[in-house]
Symmetry: C2
Subunit: 308 residues, 2 copies
C-alpha cells in the first residue's frame, strides 16, 4: 500500500461561466465537484495506475461528508479522521475562453494528533508514505516531523511535497524525497541557482530533492549525483495536478525499489510522462494511460556533471 | 402562520478576499454561509419580527442537509421536500473595497408535485402564502398556477415575487399581490411607464401590483387606486434582501388584514421601512428592529391621481 497523507483535503468545485466580471452577478452554467487536495490527487493517479493506495486525511462538516462519498464513488480507499473544523472548498471559475480563476478557502484542523496516530496505525504493509499539500492551520510545531519520523522508524520511505517551514521540517526529520518547485525552493534556500540550491539541501539532509520546473520538467539532485528530465514536446492543457502526477510517479518508483534513486532514469521518465498526461487530462487527479504511454519515449533524461 | 414557499432555496456563501483578480489564484480570508433563497429570506425577516412562519422548499444533497441544519440553527420552522437534485449554492465574493461579485449556480427540481402537495397540506391555519424566488428548472407548465390556485381555493391570500412567465402565470391564477421590480415589469408588459404598466396588470387580473424601484421606494397599484411610498433618506448598505424585506412587510400586513390594500398607507410605510432596515443589515434575510423603527416616520406615502 502507498499511504497518501493529505493534510488539507478539499472539495474542488468547478464553475463554468460565460465571463467572470468582478462586481457583477454571474450565472453559473455548469457545476462540477470532486474530492481534491494534493494528497488526494496523488492517490487518484496511483489508483488509476492500479496501485494499492490509502488516503489518510482529516474531514469535517458537510464538505467532509462529500469528501468521503466522493472517494467511495471513485473507489479510492480512505481513512478519514473526524475533524471539528469543516473541510475546505476551492472554487475554480472557468470562463468560455478557458481562463481559470481559483478561489481557495483557508484550511485548518483540530485533529492533527489523531491524523498522526492514524498514519502510524496504517504503516503495517505500507511501502511508501506520501505527505502532500499545504499544512492546515492548527498543526503544532513538529507536526510534520512526527509524521516523517513515524514512517522512518518503521523503515518506510517518505516523499514530502509541501513548502515553507514544513518543507524544512520534513528535511530535518529525514524525508527521503522532497519535491519543491523553483519558487518553493528559492523560498527556503538563499541561492538563485535551483540546481545549486537543491544540492545544498540534498547534501545537508541526505535527501533526494526533485525540483519541478513546470513545462521544463525536473531537476533531480541526490547526495551523490544530479539529473535533468524534460518532456519531449511542449503540451497544452491544465497544469493543475501535474505536480501531483509527478509525485505519484516518484512514489510508485520508490514502492517498487527503495533504492531507485541510485539509477533514477526510468522512474524520472515515468514520472515526467505522468505529469505530461495530467496536463492533458481534464481534471486534476487523473492521467490517461494512453497519454502516459505516449509521452514516455519522448522524455529526455540527462545526467548532470559536477555533482557532489 | 405565514407560509413562505421557496422554489429555489440556496446556501448563500460569502467569501472575503483582498482582491478578485480574474485568472489568478485568490486566497479566501473568511468564509460565511447561511440558508438563502428569496422565500427563505422573507421567512427569516418575518421570524425576526415575531411572526409565525413555515418555510416550504425542496432540498437535496449535502447543501440540502446544510439548509435544514441552518434553518434549525436560526429557529425558522421548515417543511423541506426531499429532492433528487442538489440544492444550489451562491458564492458572493466581497473584496476589501466592499465590491461584491455573485456567482449563482443553476437550480432545478424533480419534486415540484410533492412541493405543491406539501403546501396544500400546510394551508390549514395559514393566513398568507408567499411564493418568492425564481422557478427552478423542472417545474411543469401550470406549476405556479397550481400553488396559487391551492391557496385561493382555501381563501388564503397569496403574494408572489417572481418574474417572467411565472409572474404572468401567477397573475392569471389570481395572485392577490405581485411584486415585480421595474425591469421585471417591463419584461412582461410593453409599456415604458411603470405606473401605466402596473395599472394594466392590476385591472386585467384584479391584483395588487407593487413595483419596487430600489432606493426610490415602491409604486403600488390596485384595480381601484395607486400610491407611491418613498424612504425618507437615501441609505447606503447592501441592497441584497431589501426586496425580500419589502415582501415580508406586505405579507405581514395581509396576514393582519386581508383587506389592507383598500387603505395601504400603514402597510406601505411598514414594508418600505423594513426594506431600508434590510439595506442597513449585514446579511440578506435580516432587518434590525431599531433600523426599522427609525425608518418608519421618514417614509412618505402619496396617493397618485388618475387611478382606475
Amino acid at each position: 500500500v502507498i499511504l497518501c497523507v493529505c493534510p488539507s483535503p478539499a472539495i474542488d468545485v468547478t464553475y463554468r461561466v460565460d465571463r467572470l466580471v468582478p462586481g457583477a452577478t454571474v450565472r453559473v452554467n455548469r457545476v462540477d465537484s470532486h474530492p481534491g487536495g494534493k494528497g488526494v490527487n496523488v492517490a487518484r493517479v496511483l489508483h488509476a495506475l492500479g496501485e494499492e493506495v490509502l488516503v489518510v486525511a482529516p474531514s469535517g462538516g458537510e464538505p467532509g461528508e462529500e469528501l468521503r462519498r466522493g472517494l467511495v464513488a471513485v473507489g479510492v480507499p480512505a481513512r478519514l479522521i473526524s475533524d471539528s473544523t469543516t473541510t475546505r472548498r476551492t472554487v475554480t471559475v472557468v470562463d468560455e475562453r478557458g481562463d481559470a480563476t481559483c478561489l481557495v478557502e483557508p484550511s485548518s484542523t483540530t485533529a492533527w494528533a489523531e491524523l498522526v496516530a492514524a498514519v502510524e496505525g496504517s504503516l503495517g504493509g505500507a511501502r511508501v508514505v506520501v505527505v502532500s499539500g499545504s499544512l492546515p492551520g492548527g498543526v503544532p510545531p513538529g507536526g510534520v516531523a512526527a509524521l516523517v519520523g513515524a514512517a522512518r522508524s518503521r523503515g518506510v520511505p517518505v516523499v514530502v511535497d509541501t513548502h515553507g517551514p514544513a518543507l524544512l521540517e520534513a528535511l530535518e526529520a529525514g524525508a527521503d524525497v522532497v519535491t519543491p518547485n523553483v519558487d518553493e525552493l528559492a523560498a527556503v534556500v538563499r541561492d538563485d541557482d535551483p540546481t545549486r540550491a537543491a544540492r545544498q539541501l540534498a547534501q545537508l539532509h541526505g535527501s533526494v530533492v526533485v525540483v519541478s520546473r513546470g513545462p521544463d520538467g525536473v531537476t533531480v539532485v541526490t547526495p551523490a549525483a544530479a539529473w535533468e528530465a524534460r518532456p519531449g514536446a511542449a503540451v497544452t492543457g491544465n497544469p493543475t495536478g501535474a505536480g501531483d502526477a509527478l509525485v505519484a510517479g516518484l512514489a510508485r518508483g520508490l514502492a517498487r525499489d527503495p533504492g531507485v534513486f541510485a539509477h533514477p532514469e526510468h522512474v524520472l521518465r515515468d514520472a515526467v510522462a505522468l505529469s505530461v498526461a495530467a496536463v492533458q487530462a481534464e481534471t486534476a487527479g487523473s492521467a490517461d494511460p494512453k497519454h502516459h504511454a505516449g509521452a514516455m519515449p519522448g522524455v529526455v533524461v540527462t545526467a548532470l556533471g559536477g555533482a557532489g
